[in-house]
Assembly symmetry: C2
Homo-oligomer: 176 residues x 2
Amino acid sequence: MATKQQAQRRAAGSRAAVHRPKPQSANGTGRDHDAEREIGLDALVGHAGYAVRRFQLWIFQDFIKTLAAVDIRPTQYSVMTVIGANPGLSQMAVAKRLGIERARLVHLLDSLEARDLVNRIPSATDRRSHALHLTTSGKAALAQFRRLAAEHERHVAEKIGKENRERLLQILAAFT
Amino acid sequence: MATKQQAQRRAAGSRAAVHRPKPQSANGTGRDHDAEREIGLDALVGHAGYAVRRFQLWIFQDFIKTLAAVDIRPTQYSVMTVIGANPGLSQMAVAKRLGIERARLVHLLDSLEARDLVNRIPSATDRRSHALHLTTSGKAALAQFRRLAAEHERHVAEKIGKENRERLLQILAAFT
DNA sequence: GAAGATTGTTGTTGACGACAACAATTGATG
DNA sequence: CATCAATTGTTGTCGTCAACAACAATCTTC
């Protein structure tokens, strides 16, 4: 119900409303935007965080869409990749490596284990920890995931340009 | 309680455990990683989404930390920036411009309005929509936010390099 | 004036990050 | 060797966020 909205309208009556001070567009163009035309961002352009957020949103959506047939999300893919490349890792090691919390990894592994993609094998050397391995079907599945992920990566290259993608990876290499 | 873990241990006994197939490090180095040493990511390196996720996490944390004194999060800052640069916009227009859902914007504006930073003024031309404006204190506050955001942006430049930041913004300009 | 679209709102769902506890186990220190 | 601190996996809660789905009020279009 839009009661709040109504209440506000009743209270505000029909005052101010068209009170629209000069758009003060600081970008120098000075164009107006009364309708839903171009909306200036001014200070927002030039903020790395904003651009990265938008890009991350786009890239994740494309990843999820491209891997929708196999129902694998980016985080799940990263977990399986690390385990596949380093069999026997503990949960702690995987979590630290991927920058996710061990509490969160528990649920991720629960779902992957329920789908018979990953195995938690009790470690012999440390009875607290689990040695993580891909199951046989997990290895086969990961191969397919990789192909789809490569397709997604091609989408990225199409979107921002092949050389720009390379440059991006190079710039952000310190975070991987 | 770690009952699940225990049950698994009891069931598994002391079998496999050290069963650690060759690390199959495909990156060509062939170094091992039995301890918590270097953990190969293999296929994960070269995935733009992973790098971007890590970077986005870092950049947001730094933004939140840098603007902690004024208690402003990245999304709140972007909303105020757009409204400040384009007074009188409707919620729909702001949401579309920033790529956030109008449902989400409702709560964002609720909090900003509760802090007397933003005003929802009923539009005279369309009684469904609200014309969004910064309050007087909102404008003053935004000026301070901008200074802190600039400081945050300097952190980014320090982290990845001044010219790399420029390049990054240029590459992702299509998403802003 | 009726039908359909739009706007703001509420609510739900699920992924996710951040914390805080906790039991079991290990490691270090006395 | 006994004890205490640290680690590991687990459970739980909290808050943020994206994605939907509904809904009332209102606008637009025919």
